[in-house]
């Protein structure tokens, strides 16, 4: 029974990683950039949800919606101001700019809301479902269902809608997409909007599980989710989903069976092993290099 409950907890944590990783992987797929500021968008989302619930007294759902709205706007604004002028620049310049944006958000949060940790109010009741001695908390259930729902919606959006098709076209070939009359800049903005909205959802789920809000909150989940995205094959949406879930399960198992202190080291060691066996991640596409 221990094994099963660890597995379910792992899937819960992994679902949060998966939602964040989806943002990383979509942005990478279309803009070919590592958006290091993504973790800090999570932080902003957490603060917005925190103030909406404890200061404005909003119930959970409107607070989440508000958080999503703020993060979406923030994501698009960041893209327009900082990344769009660098479309033609080298990927390292874009990377450094993303790091600059990340510093900016962290320090702005520290100035606006002070560096002291705020306690996120408990928004999901403590109980859960018990079955044959196995207890699954409501939070874990909600997290996993939200993740699956997000994944289904995203896959339907990407595969079935005109905008989704246009986004996939842009990620394959920007020049050809422009010739086909697709507004590439708009598509990139939409990708950033979706990714940041997902970050807001993830932030609320994360804070419901670990109820403290502080300016560097997004750093570690950001790195983990980035790892998850690479794990599954960066640029691939099912890959991010799978990578996130696996990463969460491995982390919880490592904590439970091996060592709490070394769990991070074990997670990253597994990542290295996987990349050595499959150099483009679990579901990544291998692009043959041509002369």
């Amino acid at each position: 029974m221990d094994f099963l409950s660890y597995l379910i907890n792992g899937l819960g944590l992994g679902s949060v990683y998966a939602i964040i990783a989806l943002g990383y992987t979509m942005v990478y797929g279309i803009a070919k950039m590592l958006n290091f500021a993504h973790g800090d968008v999570i932080m902003v989302g957490a603060y917005v949800a925190f103030f909406a619930i404890s200061n404005l007294g909003l119930p959970l759902l409107p607070a989440v919606l508000l958080s999503i709205a703020v993060c979406t706007v923030l994501g698009v604004v960041i893209e327009r101001l900082a990344y769009k002028p660098l479309r033609a620049a080298s990927s390292l310049s874009v990377l450094i700019t993303a790091i600059g944006v990340s510093y900016f958000l962290q320090n702005a949060a520290q100035l606006l809301w002070s560096s002291s940790t705020k306690v996120f109010p408990s928004v999901i009741s403590n109980g859960g479902i018990s079955w044959n001695g196995l207890t699954v908390s409501w939070l874990t259930l909600i997290t996993i269902s939200v993740c699956v729902l997000v994944m289904i919606c995203l896959v339907l959006f990407i595969n079935r809608t005109k905008t989704g098709r246009a986004m996939r076209a842009c990620s394959e070939d920007k020049g050809a997409s422009t010739l086909m009359g697709i507004n590439v800049n708009l598509m990139i903005s939409i990708t950033f909007a979706i990714g940041s909205g997902l970050a807001a959802i993830a932030s609320v789920l994360l804070c419901a599980a670990y109820p403290s809000v502080f300016p560097t909150l997004g750093a570690m989940p950001g790195i983990k989710a980035f790892t998850a995205a690479v794990f599954g094959g960066i640029g691939s949406i099912p890959g991010a989903f799978l990578g996130g879930l696996l990463l969460g399960v491995i982390e919880i198992f490592a904590k439970a069976y091996i060592s709490t202190q070394l769990s991070d080291a074990i997670v990253f060691a597994v990542l290295i092993l996987v990349l050595l066996i499959k150099p483009t991640g679990l579901l990544g596409k291998r692009i043959r290099e041509k002369v």
Binding site: A88, F104, N107, Q110, L111, A219
Partner: protein, 360 residues
């Protein structure tokens, strides 16, 4: 270029970059020494001298890796960490055998550099088999692994020798023994034997090593492998071997830098060398210019001093730092500004001045 007068060998196009680097370091050293002796340097700046030297050496190493070899490395701080804790442990355990600080400092830095280079080669074997962003994430992963391993290491020394323990802090030591590594608390009670002069000498050594490598046959092979892997392979360059050379030298320099850094503070925690430090070094390299060592030195000095100079802005200083970072990236990649600078350059050269071609 089109220069008619024969320039002295040191100012010729081939050597200009190197002369500038060495000149920069020596001039900086002279000015700071004079300022220190006349008492014009505040204690804050004096305390920053050695760390700046360390960051410069580590950034020069990273520039060899990112700029010359073209591989994005997000884990340079882990090699600094390895070098720092090797040096701190060695210096701590040799305190009785070699009481004189200078030989102990040299020995510790050499040991730090050597162990970091060995780590570099071991980590390089899996890392350099990958490419692009996958390579970057694996260096990040190794950085995290090394950090959490060192965070969980306990090492003590007494008359019976070393006592080592992992995760739990049960290091059965005879009374009178000394803890060298204390898990998350790191190393405490280190004798501070680093000096600014040692830092400057280390920078000069790093520059000599990197320039000699860059302009040698191996260095040309490294750059060829960066510019076109397939073409380089087809003329018989072993890609893995050349990249490994750059990676090992880079981690060796980071180890030496870390050693100097570790011996400059009485307390050193493993968390000091985390992902943020790696990123900071990368920022120095990119702002200084890929492959441009003088640029790296200048960028490191400016970016380490910037937050200190902005101290009067108090809380806003890191915010301004972030904005400066973004603005520099936006402006250096601005098309109109680029063409404008090029026009200015053309006009300047047309007037008969020497061509100021940028160093590769």
């Amino acid at each position: 270029m089109k220069t008619k007068k024969k320039l002295p060998a040191l100012m010729s196009a081939k050597y200009r970059g190197r002369t500038a680097s060495y000149g920069c370091v020596l001039a900086g050293w002279l000015i700071l020494e004079v300022m220190m002796h006349t008492g014009n340097l505040s204690s804050l700046f004096t305390s920053l001298l050695v760390p700046v030297c360390c960051y410069i050496v580590a950034a020069i190493g990273l520039n060899l890796n990112v700029g010359v070899s073209g591989e994005l490395n997000l884990g340079q701080a882990c090699f600094m960490s390895v070098g720092a804790f090797t040096a701190v442990c060695l210096s701590g355990s040799l305190a009785r055998t070699i009481p004189a600080p200078l030989p102990r400092l040299i020995l510790s830095i050499l040991a730090g550099a050597l162990i970091a280079a060995i780590f570099g080669i071991l980590i390089g074997i899996p890392v350099l088999k990958l490419e692009g962003d996958y390579l970057a994430i694996v260096t990040l992963a190794f950085g995290q692994i090394v950090k959490s391993l060192i965070t969980n290491m306990y090492l003590g020394v007494d008359e019976n020798g070393f006592h080592f323990s992992f995760v739990d802090n049960q290091v059965n030591m005879a009374p009178g023994g000394k803890m060298l590594l204390n898990g998350p608390m790191g190393a405490t009670g280190t004798e501070r034997i680093s000096t600014f002069t040692a830092g400057v000498i280390l920078i000069l050594l790093a520059l000599i090593v990197v320039y000699h490598l860059m302009y040698s046959r191996s260095g040309r092979a490294i750059m060829a492998a960066r510019d076109n892997r397939i073409a380089a392979e087809s003329v018989g360059i072993g890609i893995f071997k050349t990249k490994m050379l750059a990676f090992a030298v880079s981690s060796c320099l980071a180890g030496a830098a870390g050693a100097l850094y570790g011996l400059n503070y009485s307390t050193l925690v493993p968390a000091k060398f985390d992902f943020n430090t790696s990123i900071l070094l990368l920022v120095y390299v990119v702002l200084g210019g890929l492959g441009n060592m003088t640029g790296t030195i200048v960028a490191t000095v400016v970016l380490v001093l910037l937050p200190e100079l902005l101290r009067s802005m108090q809380d806003y200083r890191m915010l301004i730092y972030a904005v400066v970072l973004i603005l520099i990236m936006l402006l250096t990649n601005n098309e109109t500004l680029k063409t404008w600078v090029q026009k200015l350059k053309k006009r300047y050269t047309a007037k008969g001045g020497t061509a100021h071609d940028t160093e590769s």
